[in-house]
Symmetry: C2
Subunit: 252 residues, 2 copies
DNA sequence: CCAAAAGTGTTTAAGCTACACCCATGA
DNA sequence: TCATGGGTGTAGCTTAAACACTTTTGG
């Protein structure tokens, strides 16, 4: 085999790989971090300071470091950008995006992640960002609101959103959106925010409490809201991860 | 920003990216191609000819080419290695694996895909492979059969297997495992092979035929088996992709 | 007392399970 | 006529949907 001095990778590949077969790629992680704020499903975006896509909004993320695993890179970015650790929230791989022209500068493959977090304070813009803030998902997708998105991030967000919606059906991950302890009303608000509206509260309550390990009662009661109402029982997250049978969203 | 002459990527990055932030990666696709042969769930593996892991079995796959999208690379490999086109079978992203030490030679990020195919002829080994064949999934995972797997492919296979099993519950993808036209008995055999056994045939039939768009009756009847039995009605795949409510495997 | 939110009971419809039974074919 | 596989009918159970109703709090 021949050595191509122009490519670091080729110089490092000892055997079995023909350098003419491949080019080096940059690998990044992009995060779709979802949370609920004032009853709306929100996503964390950062505003780009530099070209390409200067002033456009983009998913938080960054390069995977040379000695770092991809999942580790994602949790690092999650902690840096949203101050969320993996234990209070939830982090999973979403999909990988690698069209040759998704970044005009060079060949970049991005591994997208999906993260859920309980309500968080406003983020601070990082060094390479002009701004950072939570956007309501409706405002992002409406197009009218003036959120212009960088790269293929519109596609990633749309895939992430569909995944969140689906995950609430057959997992207990909705509980990752609320801080402990929480009421069944809080949990119900997560479903209505993520799905858009329906979900009969009365049957929802029965479903949640009858699913072993979804929520665990804790002592005490919530304070009633400003307009009154009975104090609600408090719960924390249980050990169950799956929901059998699933909680269906009203779209059939 | 400075230019690092040792890295092709860095030399190409015009703005906004600091070359000290990242290293170049090789990007590959690996395929978990599943099919049913003689009533058993099988997976396509190739035997490696070169070190590392010479003589060990590995998932078919290869490098993503410089001007090629990742999904395109996967369909190209699927066609090359298994002679399956995306239209008769099914191809979707599984997950991305990128631990720093998963390949001892260099930093490789692999995007794994999941593919389903109807029964296929025996594969032929490619140029860089010593052998290629279908393995029953039980024999691969048993450990006793002597199938030693390269890289982290044991993990990828295990993730792929779990995904196939789950997908049969809530999608109509089982029909991608059978050639058209097929009988309900053929389809039932897919479920028992993938899940391990149960599935009540009598209720299974009702579920499949009552799900709008799962299967479409075609004219004609199958020839009975060697030991007799009635001729079975024939079907082709319908347009539906999802199964609501799902077909549960007996594990609750 | 009224509005708002928490929580319970009950009726009805739908879906799934299990099992019995009949039909068509080849040996 | 028997074994084998295809296919239907039906009773009974479990679950989910819909809606009525009670309780607790703040104004």
């Amino acid at each position: 085999m021949t050595i191509d001095n122009e490519a670091t990778l080729a110089a490092r590949a000892p055997d079995g790989y023909d350098p003419s077969d491949y080019a080096p790629f940059a690998v990044t992680v992009d995060l779709t971090v979802f949370t609920i704020r004032t009853g709306r499903l929100c996503l964390l975006l950062v505003q780009r300071a530099e070209d390409p896509y200067a002033r456009a909004w983009a998913l938080p993320g960054g390069f995977v470091k040379p000695a770092e695993g991809i999942d580790s890179a994602a949790s690092r970015e999650l902690l840096e950008e949203a101050k969320v650790d993996v234990f209070t929230g939830h982090l999973e791989q979403l999909a990988t995006y690698g069209d040759p022209d998704r970044d005009p500068r060079m060949r970049v493959v991005s591994v997208a992640y999906l993260a859920f977090a309980p309500d968080l304070p406003d983020p601070v813009a990082g060094s390479d960002a002009a701004d950072a803030r939570w956007w309501a998902i409706d405002d992002i997708l409406d197009g009218e609101t003036g959120v212009s998105l960088a790269f293929d991030h519109q596609q990633i967000i749309s895939d992430g959103l569909e995944r969140v919606r689906a995950k609430l059906e057959y997992t207990t991950l909705a509980a990752r959106f609320v801080a402990e302890p929480f009421t069944l009303g809080d949990l119900h608000a997560v479903y209505t925010a993520v799905w858009g509206m329906p979900v009969r509260l009365t049957n929802f309550r029965r479903k949640v409490t009858s699913t072993e390990g979804f929520v665990i009662p804790v002592d005490g009661h919530s304070a009633p809201g400003p307009a009154g109402g009975a104090p609600a029982a408090l719960y924390r997250r249980g050990p169950a991860n799956e929901l059998h049978p699933p909680l269906r969203r009203g779209e059939r």
